[in-house]
Symmetry: D2
Subunit: 137 residues, 4 copies
Amino acid sequence: MSKEIVYSVDVHFGDCDPAGIVFFPNFSRWMDAASHHFFRQCGLPAWHELTDPQQCIGPPLLEIHTRFHTSATHGERLDVHTRIEAWRGKVFIQQHRIMRGDTLICEGQETRALCVRSADGRLKAVPVPDYIRAACA
Amino acid sequence: MSKEIVYSVDVHFGDCDPAGIVFFPNFSRWMDAASHHFFRQCGLPAWHELTDPQQCIGPPLLEIHTRFHTSATHGERLDVHTRIEAWRGKVFIQQHRIMRGDTLICEGQETRALCVRSADGRLKAVPVPDYIRAACA
Amino acid sequence: MSKEIVYSVDVHFGDCDPAGIVFFPNFSRWMDAASHHFFRQCGLPAWHELTDPQQCIGPPLLEIHTRFHTSATHGERLDVHTRIEAWRGKVFIQQHRIMRGDTLICEGQETRALCVRSADGRLKAVPVPDYIRAACA
Amino acid sequence: MSKEIVYSVDVHFGDCDPAGIVFFPNFSRWMDAASHHFFRQCGLPAWHELTDPQQCIGPPLLEIHTRFHTSATHGERLDVHTRIEAWRGKVFIQQHRIMRGDTLICEGQETRALCVRSADGRLKAVPVPDYIRAACA
């Protein structure tokens, strides 16, 4: 369906909560970083630099769904494994699995819609151009 | 099913990203704050102070699911409407709807399991005690 | 020298680190929120809405200096007491004292320069207009 | 005076504010990560694992002082250059310079005191043991 690309993060002391484990919104933060990294590694420009489709404003999030399997803590290095799970017209689903070695820490789907700004200033979802899908394949 | 309790947050400049809108992991951060606030407003002690069930370590997250309807930005005040959507044995689902006035910004479910630390040091999910369910009703 | 204006924040579980106390960059985050709040409470528009001086881009930070006196933890409400300590031409110093009741948790100075974007696109510091200084007095 | 050790960070989209530049408390977050990294790279255990001095609780921050020279943005890689600037009895000053290639983005000092927990439960600053100073030299 798509390439799988790995982005590594170090878990810092300050990413952890009083229970000594990663405070969960940080996993979303790392998945977002991995999402940007994925498209750059596929050879695409940053979203705000895209001139085709015109006035591309990037792929706003419609939905996230994350399942937490076990905890992680500071001093650990985690690998975020990212791929495109499905292209569905104007919407696509990106999947992230956060691993510590062979252990699955959590896995999440992000559903995004590629949007442009229409003449009236409103956001409008557009079909993901073929060249973007091809770059990720 | 349960009380609905509202927790208000101010959106700060630093909560927003280069697109000028709330960076989405902050919504998870505010839902977590609203979750803690909900139980305190129901008259329950903080999780780490619970002595019954014994050695309660609180309700770790199993899963989050958030749908984003529209964006929010700095200078706005948001209200997080929180309630228990379902008690399912050792697991419960908390629902958060983040509103700006009458506008639904995003809504999320958090699935949590109430856990204690067993003699061997491992976490073990336990049925949510009746007094906790009663306090939230 | 200036008004003193108070901005209150709730310390959340997720603002605290594995030592159980506020992770210190969050104090900077709250001081920044208090800085924005201060100018709004003085009746000034948000920086990005200022039309005089023209093309105002706000007051970028030049320097911060914070002294930590004691720790704070989740469940506490803190008050950030903010005032202008000095106007020095194109630069001004804002002081924030974070209190828990009568206890000083930390105090910080932020040195900022009011900037506009010049014709060549570069930032240029400009004298703080009298109407801004008057609004804060 | 001490080793200088470099810790690299990627600036993420979500680390930046509506002005499109790094929201400044993130620089403190990265300096804290670099501080932990420094001591580990010097061969020392994590603070919470130290058994000598007894009941070491690590080096709480007394003071930070940061000067901002220019901005940084997402997609950039920054290097945090960390060293010990001075050992002063029970207190030490760690210096961090954050560089983008040859460009100095910001520089900061963190003043910390090595603390143990005394019999009455209170924190007490103690002289930094020689073996810690030697490991950093």
